[in-house]
Symmetry: C2
């Protein structure tokens, strides 16, 4: 058995704590150090998770007993932090989105390519038991041929957000919930249907103190010709849902997002329903539909994603969400923001080309 991959947390906000807690359920990684500019945060985090800490990022990167960094600093600092890690030969896992500009995303791609480090982006949602089951049902032909997928990700964040919060800044969180929530679903949608080619988005600030968008609706078209809808909303009680429309069956997936951070329990609070023809006579007045609950595999999405990363660090396979995959999610996200701002449909190639 390989020794655990030794990781260090960089950026010690709420999410770093959620991840460290999930890593406590793994034998494949071991948290050895942490860094934040705040000494208080370092002390609290190190005590809570039983790891060391470093006074500077440079000192952390100089350690021989750190194999990889787990980066949860704000989105617009990802590129600089990952470039430094790559120069020090440290592997890097970064929270989604990989970046909020394509320039930053490309800097990360280059740093990864030139250094040869293992890199993964934390699009854990595609690892949920429900997503895996939906993909398996689609791949097995159980839903027939899929025309449309609808995805919604919503919470109440915009209702209480302070005017000076970075999430309310269109430069730091373009599209508001489109960046912070929607990019999860963009990854899920591209995981299920392949690359997006075209988007159309309406978005605006609603019922909020910030000037950034807090509500957006987006249409997506895929290389495959299939289509999708993405609703992202910071002005309502939380919703995480995915609906799949196929020629043989529809799938309706709902998740109680309040269990998201307890990633070993998330799937228990989800529900996947399959609607198929019980009897199709061809007579529009004489047909029946049948809804059946589908069992959702129970996974631990935050643990599983870091274990895949750790295996790749040890030379065992590739990561699923690499820099290019994560960049593609950001490109679609930024195309949606451009569509909303310019009031026109936008080809993703306008940004990627």
């Amino acid at each position: 058995m390989s020794a655990p991959v030794r990781v260090a947390a960089v950026g010690l906000g709420r999410w770093a704590n959620v991840l460290a807690t999930a890593y406590g359920r793994s034998d494949t990684v071991r948290l050895v150090s942490c860094f934040s500019r705040s000494a208080d945060k370092r002390r609290t985090f190190a005590e809570r998770h039983g790891c060391g800490s470093d006074d500077s990022y440079q000192a952390l990167l100089a350690r021989d007993d750190v194999d990889a960094v787990i980066v949860t600093v704000p989105n617009d600092h990802h590129a600089a932090v990952i470039e430094q890690a790559a120069r020090s030969g440290k592997h890097a896992f970064v929270e989604k989105p990989i970046a909020v500009t394509l320039e930053d995303a490309r800097r990360i791609e280059r740093a990864v390519d030139e250094s040869g480090i293992v890199f993964a982006c934390g699009h854990s949602a595609r690892r949920l038991g429900g997503l895996r089951k939906i993909k398996a049902l689609m791949d097995a032909g159980d839903v027939g041929q899929v025309s449309v997928v609808e995805a919604v990700f919503a919470n109440e964040r915009g209702l209480t957000i302070e005017a000076d919060n970075w999430r309310g800044d269109p430069a730091r969180a373009p599209g508001g919930p489109l960046t912070q929530l929607g990019v999860h679903q963009l990854d899920n949608l591209q995981y299920l249907l392949g690359p997006v080619t075209r988007v159309a988005t309406f978005g605006k600030p609603m019922y909020t103190r910030v000037r950034n968008d807090t509500v957006n609706v987006t249409l997506l078209e895929f290389e495959s010709g299939q289509m999708a809808y993405l609703g992202t909303n910071w002005a309502c009680p939380g919703v995480f849902s995915i609906n799949v429309y196929g020629t043989e069956a529809d799938l309706f997936y709902q998740l109680d997002f309040s269990w998201w951070s307890d990633s070993h329990l998330t799937d228990e609070h989800s529900r996947l329903t399959k609607r198929a023809f019980a009897r199709a006579t061809g007579d529009p007045d004489d047909f029946d539909l049948q809804d059946v609950e589908v069992e959702v595999p129970q996974v631990d999405h935050l643990r599983d994603e870091v274990e895949e990363f750790a295996r790749a660090v040890r030379g065992g396979g590739r990561v699923e969400v690499d820099a290019r995959t994560a960049t593609r999610n950001v490109a679609v996200m930024l195309a949606a923001v451009r569509s909303s701002r310019e009031g026109r449909m936008v080809q993703v190639d306008e940004l990627m080309g």
Copy 2:
């Protein structure tokens, strides 16, 4: 008590039979005659519903014992049939959509205005118990301020439709399910949120023998600033759903459309769920949501719409879906078709102006 309003069915396809059956549950209207170009259909219909019949539309319109016509001829014949009725002083009820071109819709508006007949269009979906309850909850402020409504209407029609069916002809059913199903939801959406100002649509033929669209996804923006999504699909097991996202609560409404024609039973096969904050602490790791089932009033949407029409004929009040309301639904529908064809966002005023 007024005597029943005496109606005659014009166009004797499947839907005329569904309506006549619903009218059998009413004391407010009485079916006295029918007409179709097919003598067979006239005979069968008259026997089944216990009414008379006429050999020509002219003969039917000449009868003194017919107060109003119930028009279910194909969409592109509505205008001519209603103009004739109006010239004969017969009131007219027509199945949705009022027309498939704005020219035809305007002809109907003019005929109604000039003759002074009572006119109503059969957008019965807004009369469903679930829709009435959603509107009541919104009006009472129970969901807070609404940002987005999502509506889906889907069935399997496109999978089996023959290549020469009129529904496969973009001129007779523009946008396919957008015309045949979506216009119901466009009426519902404008009933809930007011006039639509802008649309963006992707649509195409999928998994079908016809060259018309069989799948479309549409974004809508309203004068109010609120937004909506409409999914219309002829390539999957049936779905009729409406989701409302508000600052205080979300609403999820599902209807088993296989009970649509049994309009006194439809509401029994629907479900309305309200999701609200059970406990909102402001801490993103410490909140709860609560889903509660909402009782749906039981109505008879097809009987109720004709009874409202009959009361208006007797001078008792106005109809809810008049020619202008129905025309507005068609304008949005045609704006969506134009958006899809031209690959750009379309202002409804481009068509209405």
